[in-house]
Amino acid sequence: MSLLKEPPPGVTVDVDQAHTKLTEWVVHMEGAPGTLYEGEKFQLQFKFSPKYPFDSPEVIFVGENIPIHPHIYSNGHICLSILTEDWSPALSVQAICLSIISMLSSCKEKKRPPDNSYYVKTCSANPKKTKWWYHDDTV
């Protein structure tokens, strides 16, 4: 849809896969030039429930390269308020991608969240089952 026609820079949808299963998409994303992630390639997986758009999609990083970032856990889970608490049905996939790119772009130091090893061991496979604490909007 609009993401196919006018995607944010560095973003493409895996069309073949989206065609086989409409409720599951993979989006390819490139680190923006001039940022710590320049030249890196990532994959984001979107899962849509039957309640979408009133229920947010489940969005995680998948594949070999999970961005090293203070809000991204090594299992691909992302701590971003619009994906749970602050989800609005008016947010498009495009808007989510833009938020994630901007989160990556404003990062000043590549590191994992401080509670990464504990969280990855204890969390559910679905990040929406975590009650996230959002505290830091600066990175």
Binding site: D86, W87, S88, P89, A90, Q94, C123, K129, K131
Partner: protein, 268 residues
């Protein structure tokens, strides 16, 4: 005494933190269960009830009971809404569409406003693909009411989750747009060191976020629709305080506020 202590310690034991159980999942499961119960038992907008039903509700509460009594000569009926954080918006749009059915010129005006609002939202950077979808649904509803418009139809529309939630989302976008257009003014009323934009992302655009004073000021100003809210609370005095939004407009909708919740009132 001793019995009490045993009971206490047992209770503490059953609530003890179990590291093998995912606490987040427990909390969320419980929140979900409460929401599901409300959903199963209370219609999004209920049937027309006699105002005396409010008196019965407070037969054991002298403060509320005497305040409800002062509402009785002015209002005859109440329609209860589901307490899910969308109650103001659902109550508002129900009462407004009901008003429009009896005032067709207002329905025409509202339709023109809706049509124009879409472009304005696009210009302000709201996601086109989704915004259009919500606007389309609203236009469909208004067009439908232009034709067959009856109160039964409004009841059916607002109690159909698929439709009703779309209308609620679009009203949230209209509020957000109005707040952001007048950000300089509204910034003085926002708590917690947040910008107007951040406030909209956190408190306006997400579903189920309760509507406060600011939301109501913005919505009524954006739509140019007068709302009178009757505040039923434990505040001083024996009468119910009312407030008109916007102040200079004759109210066409009356809502009853009780801490954290809005229902629709009907004039006698």
């Amino acid at each position: 005494m001793e019995n009490n202590q045993t009971a206490d310690s047992e209770e503490t034991k059953s609530c003890e933190y179990d590291p093998n159980v995912n606490q987040d999942e427990l909390i969320m499961a419980q929140e979900k269960q409460i929401a599901e119960e409300i959903k199963a038992n209370i219609a999004m907008v209920g049937e027309l009830d006699d105002l005396s039903s409010l008196e019965r509700e407070y037969s054991n509460d002298p403060v509320y009971f005497s305040k409800v009594a002062t509402l009785l000569p002015k209002f005859s009926n109440v329609r209860r809404t589901r307490p899910d954080g969308n109650c103001f918006l659902r109550g508002f749009i129900f009462a407004y569409l009901e008003y429009c059915i009896y005032h067709r010129e207002e329905l025409t005006r509202f339709k023109q406003y809706l049509e124009a609002s879409k472009e304005e939202l696009f210009e302000m950077g709201f996601p086109k693909f989704t915004t259009e979808d919500f606007n389309d649904m609203f236009m469909e509803v208004v067009t439908d009411l232009e034709g067959s418009g009856s109160i039964d139809r409004v009841e059916a529309i607002i109690n159909d989750a698929g439709t009703s939630d779309y209308l609620v989302v679009y009203l949230r976008l209209l509020i957000s747009a109005h707040l952001q257009k007048n950000a300089e003014f509204f910034s003085f009323f926002i708590e917690g060191g947040r910008t107007v934009g951040e406030f909209c992302k956190q408190e306006v655009e997400p579903m189920y976020r309760e509507c406060d004073h600011l939301h109501i000021v913005a919505l009524t100003a954006a739509l140019g629709v007068g709302v009178r809210v009757m505040y039923l609370d434990r505040g001083e005095g024996s009468s119910v305080v009312s407030h008109d939004f916007p102040e200079d407009k004759d109210p066409v909708i009356h809502l009853l506020y009780r801490p954290g919740h809005y229902d629709i009132l009907y004039k006698a």
